[in-house]
């Protein structure tokens, strides 16, 4: 699967309160959540983000709370992928579970700047930076996570394996 988009760059330790503040958690509606995505980190993000855009960040992206509303908000805002130096572990699971592609790529996280044009091959983990004419290789998605993606997410995976529900 190939993705193409313009980047939004953030720093280290972007927490889930920055991605979607708790004051917005009285709903589970993806569009309502998307309307407040990243608003405490960059108030202009929501009004300017375009479908397919890519978030690039430093270490420990998605740290803090376990709220799945965070990857849901990012996905519903139209973001096609998050590339970071590293991810907090609960966010990492949640992103796969809701079908938001994420890639760990320390080199890309350092080199890529805001508004760069990227082309990402999710299968190979190769990130092409069209603006800078550079190529980075992200860590391959672990086989188990690929299985989840192939099944169409965790719920679909569970459905395949669900004990008999008479």
């Amino acid at each position: 699967m190939k993705l193409k988009g313009k980047t939004w760059k953030f720093g280290n330790d972007v927490d889930t309160d920055a991605i979607i503040p708790a004051r917005c958690l009285n709903t589970t509606d993806p569009n309502e959540l998307a309307a407040h995505c990243m608003e405490d980190a960059d108030p202009e993000f929501v009004s300017r983000v375009k479908p397919g855009d890519i978030i690039v960040a430093g270490k420990n992206f998605g740290c803090g709370s376990s709220r799945e509303h965070a990857p849901i908000a990012i996905k519903a805002a139209g973001v096609s992928c998050v590339v970071a130096h590293s991810f907090a572990r609960i966010f990492y699971r949640n992103a796969f579970n809701v079908g938001l592609p994420i890639l760990e790529c320390p080199e890309g996280a350092e080199r890529i700047q805001s508004e760069d044009e990227l082309e990402i091959d999710l299968n190979s983990g190769v990130i092409e930076n069209r603006t800078r004419n550079e190529t980075y290789r992200a860590q391959a998605i672990p086989p188990f996570m690929q299985k989840l993606i192939e099944a169409g997410g965790l719920i679909e995976y569970v459905r395949e394996q669900m004990p008999d529900q008479e």
Binding site: D15, A22, N26, H69, I72, A88, N97, Q165
Partner: protein, 421 residues
């Protein structure tokens, strides 16, 4: 091969003789929990999967605690999702307002999460139960929804990091200071994906309340679990509460750790974590000129009876400073009742603090104490991210209950001895 406590618990729950770090294992869970923010999405996932029953109705709890008592209509609608699901599946451990508490204080108190368990909860502070010697970790809603169906979950076996705390703690220094100090040393991703194992003579003497505070904030260093070997203190806590059998595990002396930190904490002073990260740790005495607008004493980190006792000891016979709002939130109904019987609530009310029914409320900027632009709070909570307790231009300083109480009295960040001397 010698193993850590985390590896032993995971191996037993995976039905394997042993497991190795970085191995992916599917394990049986002993207990699963969700709250009014995360459970609605989990229930949505549960229904989307087409499930018609839960794996075990006595091993699931639903605790509305974040935006309850319902703060607005939307929150009321979310809380109702839990109530209706609990009714539909006849879940005995749904805790209604009036019977509930903050989940991470409530579930151990009720003997629902126990030593040797694998526990998942759709709340990042689920790691609190590691204080009982359980492998307990936060997950997202979809993971919870799936586990409610299968009673199983997959994990990557974490590498373990050992923290050895030697020496003797000074007065007014507790578990909260130990964990803030630790996060200050290793950073907010210093234990990312790892098991943090807290050991040493200081931990051996530490009461359960302080052990809970420490394991509670393991997630603030990025950890999967924070865990303490169960001992006689654990046994005294769980033996009268346990709703089912439990098992003590401990690490082998020669188990492999990714890193070992060996600290003498005899000289550690009470600390605060400055905005906007739990790793910005400074001694209270370095911050004493910092004026504040609000104090919050409560939360899953420090809302237990022992925490309230310490705060009351500092506040007894004194008044909250003019211009400061002090909000005290006992973490569960039982703690509330015991605090009342001990006269602690009287001390708080006479000090002109507000005492609230149990709720996570202000900790995550939900309700019951939101900050205006430019305001600062000292809180015994666990996070001080930008906008965490209110406006993006507000600030939160994290501290132990004694420091929070002293700060309420003096209207600025203060060491308890400044008040008591």
């Amino acid at each position: 091969m010698p193993k850590t406590i985390s590896e032993k618990i995971l191996a037993d729950h995976a039905g394997k003789p042993e497991v190795f770090p970085d191995e992916l294992v599917e394990v049986r869970i002993d207990f699963a929990n969700g709250n009014d923010i995360t459970a609605p999405l989990a229930i949505e996932a549960f229904r989307r999967a087409g499930a018609r029953k839960v794996f075990d109705r006595e091993r699931i709890s639903l605790v509305p605690d974040h935006f309850v008592p319902n703060k607005d209509i939307a929150s009321a609608v979310q809380a109702r999702v839990l109530r209706e699901f609990a009714k539909e599946f006849d879940l005995p451990y749904y805790f209604e307002v009036g019977r509930m508490g903050i989940e991470h204080a409530l579930l151990p108190e009720q003997g629902l999460v126990l030593p040797g368990d694998v526990v998942i909860g759709a709340d990042s502070h689920t790691c609190t139960y590691g204080a009982l010697g359980a492998f307990a970790t936060g997950v997202g809603s979809t993971d919870l929804g799936a586990a409610m169906i299968t009673g199983r979950i997959w994990f990557k076996v974490p590498l373990s990091i050992k923290f050895v705390f030697n020496g003797k703690l000074r007065p007014w220094v507790g578990g909260k200071d130990l964990i803030l100090h630790t996060i200050g040393q290793i950073g907010v991703d210093g234990a990312r994906y790892r098991a943090m194992e807290f050991t040493g003579e200081v931990i051996d003497r530490l009461p359960m309340s302080d052990r809970f505070s420490m394991c509670n904030m393991a997630i603030e260093a990025g950890a999967k679990v924070g865990i303490i070997t169960p001992d006689s203190i654990t046994e005294a806590y769980v033996s009268t509460r346990a709703k089912r059998p439990y098992k003590f595990y401990k690490s082998d002396p020669d188990a492999a750790y990714e890193a070992v930190y060996d600290w003498d904490v005899s000289n550690l002073e009470p600390v605060v974590a400055l905005p906007h990260s739990p790793q910005n740790v400074k001694q209270v005495t370095e911050m004493e000129r910092t004026p504040i607008d609000q104090v919050v004493i409560g939360s899953c980190t420090n809302g237990r009876l022992e925490d309230l006792r310490v705060a009351a000891q500092v506040m007894k016979g004194r008044k909250v400073a003019r211009g400061v709002r002090c909000i005290v939130i006992p973490a569960t109904q039982q703690i509330y009742l015991e605090a009342m019987e001990e006269g602690l609530l009287e001390i708080f009310i006479e000090a002109e603090a507000a005492v609230s029914t149990p709720t996570c409320g202000p900790c995550l900027g939900g309700h019951m104490g939101i900050l205006a632009p430019g305001e600062s709070a000292v809180a015994t909570t666990n996070r001080n991210f930008v906008g965490r307790m209110g406006h993006v231009e507000s600030k939160v300083y994290l501290s132990n209950p004694a420091v929070a109480a002293a700060s309420a009295i003096l209207g600025r960040i203060a060491h308890p001895e400044e008040v008591l001397s």
